[in-house]
Amino acid sequence: MTTKFFGEPVRRREDARLIVGQGRYLDDIGPGAYAAAFVRSPYAHARVLDIDVSAAMDVEGLLAIYTYEDLTGPMAEPLPVLIPHPQLTAPRTGYPLVRDVAQHVGEPIVMVVATDRYVAEDAAALIEVSYEELPVVVGVDAAEAAVHTVHDDVPDNIAARHHQETGDVEAALAASAHTLSFTQYFERSASMPMEGKGVHARWDDADSSLRVYSSTQASTSVRAAIAAKLELSLEKVEVIAPDVGGGFGVKIVHPWPEELLVPMAARLLGHEVKWTEDRREHFVSSAHERQQRQEIRVGYDDDGRITALDVLVWHDNGAYTPYGIIVPINTATQLLGPYDIPVYRAVVNSVYTNTVVVTPYRGAGRPQGCFAMERTMDRIAQERGIDRALVRERNLIQPDQFPYDWGLTFQDGRPLVYDSGDYPAMMAKLKTLVDWDGFAERRAAAEARGKLLGIGMAPYVEGTGPGPYEGAHVQVLGSGKVLVSTGLTSQGQGHETVFAQLAAAELGVPLEDVEVTTGDTRRFGYAVGTFASRAAVVSGNAVALAARGVREKALRIAAEVLEADPADLEIDEGLVQVKGTPGASIPLRTVAVLSNPLRYAFDEAARQATQFAGPGDDSKPPVAVGDAPGLEHTDYYSPLRSTFASGAHAVVVEIDPATWEIAIEQYAVVHDCGTIINPMIVEGQVHGGVAQGVGGALYERMAYDRDGQLTNASFMDFLMPYASEVPDVDIDHQSTPSPLNELGIKGAGEAGVIPGSAAIASAIEDAVGRRIAAMPVSPTELYDLVRSDAERVINTSPHDSGAMA
């Protein structure tokens, strides 16, 4: 492979259309489509007694109203449990439209289709639904208490008890020199992409086929789900993810009720139908994440080395479990971070509440895990009087311990084995970047200004690039254009650019010649989806493999023409040439033409490949046995197991004790995602992740009241940070390539968000000297905290503990 383009900050190809308003997002499609709107439950838990649509029927422009009664066949059955797991003993999913009991505010009950959205909302507002309100369960504590149940037939509200351990934790705790136990909370936030979900469907009656556009992270699986639910043969359904305005996890879940109902309506009405989620709907009917209560017990020695760790997590999974227990598994396994922990047990009780479903949001259980582990480290440091960085360093897995096999099972069902990393070097970089050892001076200077300064840090390890597989198709056309397609979708990660870089590097063609299509089942039917920082790793390697297949074939054909050994050939700037022999060359596009023996000269280029164009080898068939016409190749990459990226964040916060406002003074990031294809894009991912981490730590929360009403379901009150709230980020890189794939890549998509809450909690605690046992934290809560009898904490300065060490 030529290294040109690989590792370069190549400018993004997708931008050309996006900066002039020529992107094609879901709501831009199908201007003539009918519009769908939904009547959604206003109650968190209620039995639907009656639906009276009579008043709505008079609305001019109304086309159809659907309730559960109108669903037939598989549509009348519960939505699929996407990722079954033996420990998910009581999985529950809803129906596309509520059958009899609504389990959260926002669950769809009636679908209205009308000429436009205004009219559809008019009709929806006139539909009268009568309810019998049922007792509501909100929050993990209420779910655990199980005074009331979410699902009648799940009396303890427990969907799953996820359990993993590496040894006898009770014995190890008993044998530990010191132990600590404590409980802490983590609140709900959400992916909250700027573009909500949306579905557009067109039914072709003559062809009995369906084309669906969905703002999804998993078009191939949406396709399969629609085919199954609408009882269509797979080849009669096409699903395309157009430009997607952000995903961050919420669009990996599928099929959303609307992804089935809109195609159903399009088919029944014989007309295009579209639904564009509005912001309020997104708040109350898409997914959230992150609420947990964590009960931690840890044993450690005099030096602060952990000897045993026991974690019991109560995880709020909302009303249903469509995405299985992926988030609990991530918390249980990724909690461990970069540390060498001899005996470990994790139990995660995943419980039902009458709230929106909980499915992965960027980080997917890892921020909570990191919070558990890192707060534990801080407590050990405080209890032993050791510098917090030093305690962490003493517990790190050392470079010579890789591959590090935990003896646990990861979220991909494969063994949890860290592939590579250099955690001590990473921590050293971080300490330098944030000047950890020089902090005392900064704190003193701030104190002189009447401000409280605090510092915190949190490293993490992130399993990225899980299987099962991704594939890619690469084809060189007679025009020289190179088509790359993969079934994997994009939501702004720059896949068009990154995959083009890989293909161009592999094939030795100019970047401009490469055209990438993602997430279109017409072009590539096999894919898993975009999640878990897997695109670059899994699809990236697949693209490289497919391009290599093309390259091999190209060299073989060119070798015949040039009468050379394929091993002596190279491709540069789209020209196949004999190394060191100028002039002995053939353009790749000509090779493409020759690769497809023709009878008909439909254009000038094609002439070269026709039957009488030149002398052939009469002893062989025009297309050799086992060969295929065309210069194209499809290949798949299926990783043995996940790769493990790592990183560490450090934060300095400044707190004004007269207002308890929390300002981030400095935010430092060291990250290691193996080999980098495009550093510009990777840094962009880190920036975005950090902003979400800061949002989750200081601003965002889903404020459900006791009745299960989401009281801040708007951008006015759900405080996603503006630029004014996001700090500048100092970034330092480290690269320990993954030995698991040839490119050495590890994923980078989620890294930036993982340690945010842990590091910020640590810094705030350091500044105010009070225990932070719940995140996020706002100024008003901080004010309450410092006036309460919350535990006082003192961190030893690096200087003191240096002496101790």
Partner: protein, 301 residues
């Protein structure tokens, strides 16, 4: 229960009028009765329409009425017409010269794009106790001119604000302008607020005026707050600092006095106690700034 979760994003049907005179506007408002609403900048009203939290039968858009735009700054004060956008007021040096609070407070209203369209008078007519300009009208002892079919009259701020989003104006009426009295001599002002995100409605805000006597001693200290009460409140804090030399006045004591005078509610973003703390802090800080400004102005005069 009618319908479901009741917050769609498209306005319910209404009819629309865009009169070109105040009289015509009043005619439409009178003819349409309770169901009619004035539309000014729309930055508060349109979101309410979209979420169907308001569903007036008729919207009376006053944007085409001539004579409602314009800022008149005179020695007595600043008159701000109903169609003056926040951005215009913010940019007006004349207005700031006569009453510096206008620019200072307006800078805290939302973000520039909202300020380009939203009107100062609209925000007063909207009577949101978390609005900056309601507090400033109160603090400066201002008034509004209200046109009704019966005529035009000036209504003082104390009479105008009745409760959150509620004014004394009922029935067909258009607020023509707001009048903010000039800053008195030997006085200084300051404005500060704390919002969760920059540009958000404040969790708490304070505007203050400090007046000195000829000996540079505090003769008056008054403050108005936003997001602490149901209507804009003005508190006289003079007692805490009366007669103290401005450069060593005990502003903290004034802040503490204010803390005891307010009775805020708690909500999602701030507890009542926290608001009291902010009242104390912001009061002390703004009074210090205002005192310093009063001194500077006095010395310059």
């Amino acid at each position: 229960m009618l319908g479901g979760d009741p917050h769609p994003v498209k306005p319910a049907p209404f009819s629309y009028a865009d009169p070109v005179s105040v009289e015509e506007a009043l005619d439409v408002l009178a003819a349409e009765g309770e169901g009619a609403k004035v539309l000014a900048g729309g930055q508060s009203l349109i979101p309410l329409l979209s979420m169907r939290l308001a569903a007036p039968a008729t919207l009376v858009d006053i944007n085409r009425i001539p004579g409602l735009s314009g800022i008149t700054a005179g020695p007595d004060g600043v008159r701000v017409g109903a169609l003056v956008r926040h951005a215009e007021l913010l940019a007006s040096a004349e207005a700031a010269g006569v009453q510096p609070l206008l620019g200072r407070a307006t800078a805290n209203v939302a973000h520039p794009a909202i300020r380009n369209r939203g009107t100062t008078v609209g925000s007063i007519a909207h009577a949101d106790p978390s609005g900056e300009m309601t507090a400033v009208l109160a603090l400066t002892g201002g008034s509004v001119t209200v046109a009704t079919p019966g005529g035009r009259e000036a209504v003082g701020w104390g009479e105008f604000f009745l409760g959150p989003l509620e004014t004394s104006v009922h029935g067909p009426a258009v607020v023509l302008d707001a009048f903010f009295p000039a800053l008195p001599a030997r006085s200084g002002t300051a404005f500060a607020e704390i919002a969760r995100r920059k540009g958000d409605y404040a969790v708490c805000g304070a505007g203050v005026v400090v007046t000195l006597d000829a000996d540079r001693r505090v003769s008056s200290a008054r403050a108005a707050y936003l997001s602490v009460g149901l209507v804009p409140e003005v508190h006289d804090l003079t007692d805490a600092v009366i007669g103290q030399p401005v450069d060593s006045a005990d502003w903290t004591a004034a802040g503490e006095l204010a803390r005891g005078l307010v009775d805020p509610d708690g909500d999602l973003h701030a507890s009542a106690d926290y608001r009291r703390l902010l009242v104390a802090t912001l009061t002390a800080r703004t009074l210090a700034d205002a005192g310093a400004e009063a001194l500077t102005r006095m010395e310059a005069a």
